[in-house]
Symmetry: C2
Subunit: 126 residues, 2 copies
């Protein structure tokens, strides 16, 4: 129906074929369907799940946790369990955002110094 080759899937997702096989072998995503000659055929749903996994990876969620969450999803676990996982990760994300915002502010301040003086000490903003 909506199946695509591993090459095509890799292209659409912006990840390597190696990584796609790796994610499957590591049990992060479920086994992908095969066509008559044994080739993987990625469905739209597979792509959706992979996109979601990539988004979580972007937020530095470890593969093990992504795996855990996607498993709960497959097994249709109690929503409470999934909720717990999501909330936990939300907190981590909020921490990361804050760390980044702080670093950003610091760097912007330094950049400001450069623009004003174009020759100045940098570090803690002395």
């Amino acid at each position: 129906m909506d199946g695509r080759s591993i090459k095509q899937a890799a292209l659409e997702l912006g990840m390597s074929e190696h990584t796609l096989r790796f994610y499957e072998k590591a049990g992060i995503i479920a086994q992908v369907e095969r066509n008559s000659s044994g080739y993987r055929s990625y469905s739209n749903r597979d792509l959706e799940i992979l996109k979601f996994a990539l988004r979580l990876r972007q937020t530095a969620m470890p593969l093990e946790q992504i795996k855990h969450y996607l498993h709960l999803l497959r097994e249709d676990a109690e929503p409470e369990t999934r909720l717990h996982l999501l909330l936990e990760h939300l907190e981590r994300i909020e921490g990361s955002i804050q760390a980044l915002e702080e670093a950003k502010t610091l760097l912007e301040y330094k950049v400001g110094l450069y623009h004003k003086t174009l020759a100045s000490p940098v570090l803690t903003g002395e």
Copy 2:
């Protein structure tokens, strides 16, 4: 004057002694002063630099880039060069913040679904 042992420095910075030696050996920070018996003695300035390095690490800047930046700092490079590096990293940080904000929004939406229904599909928010 203001020197402290590696143990103390590690404590103050919240990082391991191993990592402190590793950062020095890898040339990320400059050689730390030694006392009469050859033990490292971390100055306030060393701590400042390390704190700054840690903050950059928190934003997922690779050690090689941190090293590069700290080198430019030591060599008192042209401010333009340093500025360029900082601006580049700022852009990456802004990208990360955006990715995290998006993930956060997505998760918050899902959490909202949970709270409303306590039994619902999850993924793209169907």
